[in-house]
């Protein structure tokens, strides 16, 4: 007897462009004490199908067209609000993706944890508090009695997610739905949280539905796995079996898209090993005032060779973005020197450039940003976005020339010419990132800083963008600094890798040597945390 049986679930959404089928004919079961993984790319319907179980999709525009979801004899899709309140938060709990937004910032953590308990049982406040403190300790929060009184902002991201987990578990639910619970967390924290969820599940024998876009996470966590695409279940079965021998083409493509290898031989760096194309000498960047100084980058030195891809890896707050922004002069350095080699003799000190000289150098160094939704002006067509740098730097002689150059650029990054007059919102995330890449390439730069360029993308799209970057770097002999928190991605694309922690570079080496023989303890812990 399964704990939850979902049969023929179909959900439609009414939009301006007509009815969109978000979930169609989805059936699955969850047994007591097992972990079911649901994996899929954005828009695959993995979250919607689970949210509908708790009545959490907005209706309208949502509409459950068909299907049943039997949980302990009750059809969750037909149950009235009163019945649902008895189930939601008590027998079925949920963990959301972002621990920063899933806690109320104005309420003490302890109050939030005991709230569902007071709601669903007659327990006294003191008893609830005792239980909450015991649970906080169980999820790994030390000094729980004191932290009970604190506000969410006093906790780090990982600690907050522990609080969220404690909140979900306090009513001793039979089913836990975890929607991308570690996506917003750093790798080392992710590993801890995954371990915690696994442990708690074993100890309490609860069923877990684990939703993620990350195949590695699913592979590690789930007993059985469902692969979803565009609202349909493509494949389901034993996790091991699916990953070892996927039967469906889509699953095969998904698994093949996970970067899990060294950099392809054909794209490796073959240039001058002694090149000092970009040299950073003792860079320091600090924010805040004298009283409250935060050193984002602390005395970092680094050399980038002409034609190589240098990976820069680190967790959030390690200073990798500040460092990269200082090279493109989006932030100022307080100390040190950044030198760009012009030719055999001449070197340019980037940090001291002003006015025309700075503008001229901007042509040589370009940047690709993380979020393709925010990095394009929503009111400029692709054509104008790409034409702007060409006009600005006088790289095209007349309108005809601009047109040809823009269309060539679009072709180079794999965009169709007939899309030139479209606006960013008409494109998907991957296509937008292609536009952003084209914009960076428009001025024919020598150096490109790519700040997490694939982090916001789905895994199949990520694979496409990575190979595009590799191809473009080789064709145009570009030097690139590739920043990422994702170790697998960096291993696939970078010739050398630098690891940053707390504003310092703790280790730098050829990528393969670094991955196989890390010398620094922090690098070791990062690599060990990989799922």
């Amino acid at each position: 007897m399964s704990l939850l049986t979902v049969n023929h679930l179909s959900i439609d959404f009414t939009t301006r462009d007509g009815t969109v089928s978000a979930v169609s004919d989805v059936s699955f079961t969850v047994d007591k004490g097992e972990t079911l993984g649901i994996v899929g790319e954005s828009g695959s319907g993995k979250s919607v199908s689970c949210y509908s179980l708790l009545g959490l999709i907005p209706m309208p525009p949502g509409h459950i067209k068909n299907g049943t979801a039997i949980f302990d004899g009750i059809d969750l899709l037909q149950a009235n609000e009163k019945t649902m309140r008895q189930i939601r938060g008590k027998r079925i709990s949920m963990i959301f993706q972002d621990p920063m937004t899933s806690l109320n910032p104005y309420m003490r953590v302890g109050q939030q944890i005991i709230e569902p308990l007071l709601q669903h049982s007659n327990m006294s406040k003191t008893a609830a508090k005792e239980k909450a403190i015991a649970l906080l300790e169980e999820v790994g929060i030390s000094d729980a009695a004191n932290r009970f009184q604190q506000y969410p902002h006093e906790f780090s991201g990982g600690m907050r997610q522990r609080v969220v987990i404690a909140m979900a578990l306090i009513t001793e639910p039979e089913l836990l739905i975890a929607d991308e619970p570690t996506t917003a967390l750093d790798v080392t924290i992710q590993a801890q949280i995954l371990e915690l969820i696994h442990e708690l599940q074993q100890r309490r024998n609860i069923a877990v539905i684990f939703i993620s876009h990350d195949l590695d996470v699913i592979k590690r966590m789930a007993d059985r796995t469902i692969v979803m695409e565009k609202g349909h279940i493509v494949e389901q079965g034993n996790t091991q079996a699916i990953f070892d021998a996927p039967t469906q083409a889509y699953t095969q493509k998904l698994i093949a898209s996970i970067p899990n290898s060294a950099k392809p031989e054909a794209y490796r760096f073959t240039g001058d090993q002694d090149s000092h194309f970009l040299t950073l000498n003792n860079i320091s960047i600090a924010y805040g005032n004298k009283k409250n100084l935060f050193k984002a980058v602390d005395n970092v030195s680094l050399t980038v060779k002409q034609g190589e891809i240098l990976g820069l890896v680190g967790e959030s707050g390690c200073g990798k973005t500040s460092l990269s922004h200082s090279i493109v002069r989006l932030v100022d350095i307080q100390q040190g020197e950044i030198c760009l080699q012009q030719d055999a003799l001449e070197k340019l000190s980037i940090a001291e450039l002003k006015g025309k000289a700075l503008k001229a150098t901007r042509k040589d160094i370009q940047m690709i940003f993380q979020d393709p939704y925010a990095s394009l002006n929503p009111r400029m067509t692709v054509f104008n976005t790409l034409a702007e740098p060409l006009r600005l730097h006088g790289l095209a002689s007349n309108a005809e020339d601009i047109k040809n150059k823009v269309l060539t650029l679009m072709q180079d990054v794999g965009l169709e010419a007939r899309w030139a007059n479209k606006y960013p919102h008409e494109f998907s995330g991957g296509q937008r990132q292609r536009i952003a890449i084209a914009r960076a390439l428009a001025v024919e730069p020598k150096l490109i800083i790519a700040d997490e360029p694939v982090s916001a993308l789905d895994v199949t799209i990520q694979a496409q963008i990575l190979s595009l970057l590799l191809k473009l770097c080789q064709e145009r002999q570009l030097t690139m600094i590739f920043i990422s928190h994702d170790l697998a991605v960096v291993r696939y694309i970078a010739d050398r890798t630098a690891v940053m922690n707390q504003g310092k570079i703790v280790e730098i080496n050829d990528t393969e040597s670094l991955y196989q023989n890390p010398s620094d303890p922090y690098t070791k812990s990062l690599l060990a945390a990989r799922v």
């Binding site: 394009l376 002006n377 104008n384």
Partner: protein, 296 residues
């Protein structure tokens, strides 16, 4: 509409087109907004041509006639002094529209510049600039206008300026808030990295993105300015008889509303029609300037 726009975009894909061309195309598709535009154009043209079109002089009295209801000679009737209402409405429209547009333009220019600079530079500059706005907000504006009028004497130009100088405050606040969020967006960083100057970034990347709320606010400002002018005239600080504006005509019409309703109805109609037209046009423009708006 969406499909035809896509076709249109595909048709000319080899030429870059600006937001403005696209906006014009989209506006053309919005019938209500175009109707609003035509109404405004009609009023403006009539106002400009009034001296040649008006059937009577605006101060020509026919005391024997007195207040008479609409007739073949006087289409909209006459006022208590026997002056032709249509003529006075046309002359009044000249003043009202002029005050409305000119004062709003003054507030627009100052407000956008002030708000953009404060929001874009941020920090101490922002604090100082916005405190100045707060102080001006707190100033009783009537005293300010009376002072201006007393010192410089009464003139139409001064009236535009005085009203404009008050209305820009809210505009500056709206713009500043928008700019503050835009400035942190990655596309602005991307523009910096491309090498655009601050002025170019403000012009090409910031201002087009703040236009939406600004345009809506403009369509609210123009009518409120027209009413403000009526109020000032009522106090004896604005337009003086025998000159007139819609606001003056309406406040005059209110006094005799029970005996001679047409003296209130026609000026009221003219003002309301303008306001409706402005609102439709404003909504249309906001949608037209936002490529993401898919509504017709």
């Amino acid at each position: 509409m969406i499909d035809s726009l896509k076709e249109y975009q595909n048709l000319n894909f080899e030429q870059g087109r600006s937001l403005w061309q696209d906006a014009w195309y989209r506006l053309n598709k919005n019938k209500l907004a175009m109707l609003g535009l035509y109404v405004i154009i009609f009023f403006v043209v009539v106002s400009i041509l009034t001296p040649w079109l008006a059937p009577y002089g605006y101060e020509t009295q026919n005391l024997a006639l007195g207040a008479s209801a609409p007739s073949a000679q006087h289409w909209l009737g006459t006022d208590i002094h026997g002056r032709d209402l249509m003529t006075r409405l046309m002359y009044g429209g000249r003043i009202s529209l002029m005050v409305g547009f000119a004062a709003t333009a003054v507030s627009l220019v100052i407000g956008i510049l002030w708000g953009t600079i404060a929001g874009y530079i941020g920090g101490l500059t922002d604090t100082i600039m916005m405190r100045i706005v707060d102080i001006l907000y707190a100033l009783p504006f009537m005293i300010f206008i009376i002072l201006l009028m007393v010192v410089f004497g009464r003139s139409l130009l001064l009236l535009f300026l005085a009203i404009g100088l008050i209305e820009w405050l809210t505009m500056a606040r709206i713009v500043r808030t928008q700019v503050l969020t835009l400035r942190k967006q990655e596309f602005v960083s991307a523009a910096v990295v491309t090498g655009l100057s601050h002025w170019q970034i403000i012009r090409r990347h910031i201002i087009p993105n703040v236009l939406g709320p600004v345009i809506v606010y403009i369509t609210l400002t123009i009518p409120s300015v027209m009413l403000l002018e009526a109020f000032l005239s009522f106090l004896g600080l604005g337009i003086q008889p025998p000159q007139s504006s819609w606001g003056v005509l309406i406040s005059g019409g209110v006094e005799t509303m029970e005996e001679y309703p047409w003296l209130l109805v026609f000026p009221g109609l003219a003002l309301s029609l303008t306001l409706f037209a402005l609102n439709f046009l404003g909504d249309g423009l906001r949608d037209a300037l936002d490529p993401r708006a898919t509504r017709d």
